[in-house]
Symmetry: C2
Subunit: 279 residues, 2 copies
């Protein structure tokens, strides 16, 4: 009998690190054969952080690896829609999370959900309660996860406990410059150098219907200025050709600097300028 600790589908850094930190918590609670795992490939940001700190990623498992006698602990999510597809809810023995709850189960299990900026802040908080010494390498991963999930402690979900955790983990991890670590993480997260100009515009977009049809593309980056300076010509050409090809009246690309929390709009025609002035 194994106990798998798993995060949500499309795992982000907080989810992957939470599998590791809560596996430690489960071991302390005398669970045996506890295995932190991921259910889909790690994203570029996660790979960057684990690589930077010479840590192996948790093993990847699929639904067929979970035997009927195994148990599962969910971290960083609780809703059924975000869970490993096909997971039998009767195998879930605990849930540790920081999101809003949307959950209906057949029997009582351990659930700890705290409204903090990241799942790893929940883990840190529980570790503090029981005086666990957090090992250096786990501190590095947890610190990175908290910085990532709270957008460098700038997200609206950031609490004083997240700030306290970051101070404590910075000492434990022996890291001196949090700002440059944050910048490195977000560069890895928002690395768009491999995308073509059309891919940048259409990577993440929504179409709105304001009487006229408006396509708004969204790029999140930590290199806003550089992106605009170096790729403006190509991006404007991409906007023009997409607009001609797709059946939309206006096309706007919003380029957001994640850390400075400011957005610049790239537009291609007269109509868009009018639209923005009216807004």
């Amino acid at each position: 009998m194994k106990t798998y600790i798993i995060g949500h589908q499309k795992p982000d850094l907080d989810s992957v690190v939470a599998a590791i930190s809560f596996a430690e918590y489960c071991k302390l609670k005398k669970m045996i054969d506890v295995i932190p795992a991921i259910i889909e490939d790690a994203n570029d940001e996660t790979k960057f952080v684990f690589n930077k700190f010479n840590s192996p990623l948790p093993q990847k498992i699929s639904i067929t690896d979970i035997k009927p006698e195994d148990k599962v602990v969910l971290v960083d999510h609780n809703e059924e829609s975000q869970r490993l597809t096909g997971l039998d809810q009767n195998q879930i023995t605990a849930i540790y999370d920081h999101h809003k709850v949307n959950l209906s189960l057949n029997s009582p299990i351990e659930i700890v959900i705290l409204p903090l900026g990241s799942s790893n802040t929940v883990a840190w908080h529980l570790f503090k309660d029981i005086n666990l010494q957090i090992p250096t390498n786990m501190a590095k991963l947890m610190l990175s996860a908290i910085l990532s999930d709270t957008v460098g402690l700038k997200s609206s979900t950031t609490t004083n406990i997240d700030k306290e955790a970051v101070i404590d983990l910075t000492t434990l991890a022996g890291i001196e410059d949090i700002d440059s670590l944050t910048l490195e993480i977000f560069k890895a997260k928002s690395n768009i150098s491999a995308l073509t100009d059309e891919q940048v515009v259409l990577n993440d977009y929504k179409i709105f219907d304001f009487g006229k049809k408006v396509l708004i593309g969204q790029v999140e980056t930590v290199e806003q200025e550089m992106l605009i300076v170096s790729r403006k010509k190509g991006l404007l050409a991409a906007l023009q050709s997409i607009k001609e090809r797709e059946t939309v009246d206006y096309l706007i690309l919003a380029i957001t600097d994640i850390l400075k929390v400011n957005t610049k709009l790239l537009i291609s025609g007269v109509g868009e300028t009018e639209l923005i002035q009216k807004a």
Copy 2:
């Protein structure tokens, strides 16, 4: 701004004491103006225990006492169907419970649900984590609540942590004989001396349709023998007259000794005897 700590509708002893014990926990978390409350009158068992230990019951509040700026902490329940009717879910800031979860909220809040035998064991467990000294009188109430909710540590939901809590609270409360405290509590809970024979039969019943219609009444008591000896004649007469009056084919009264967990059936006719032999 006040923070009300409230249990479920039709409050039982565990729910009422949990309002008090978790109010203490909330104060430790620096919440201000924390008020344990009940939303309906306490039952006989609860009144007995609070009276025995010279403790005032929490104040009774209704939905109109909760102002829009107030906050509410739910204890011993999480489902909407068990909540104070009309409560705005956006005012709920925390939930502490030991039941299965069936919950959907708009935003993340603090939720601690542990699969233990009673809500007061959850409170005891959290107190231990933060080294809170439980005052003598609170220990008496918490001990009674755990004994009540776990049926004297005999229910199927009883865990080792419940047993540990009872040992610890017994010392803190300075109580010597747990068994006689348990018996006293259950006498108060199952006091049917004020009920007529017909009320005893129909106090808690279900009608089953097995081809023939069968009415099964259920009485829980700690004085099974005495009930059968002293009231058998009256109860049999009640069974007969109810059977004639109601349109049921069979009528059975199940008298369960809550603490010894055994059930005796009282039946009135030949048909019932045949039914039971077939089962």
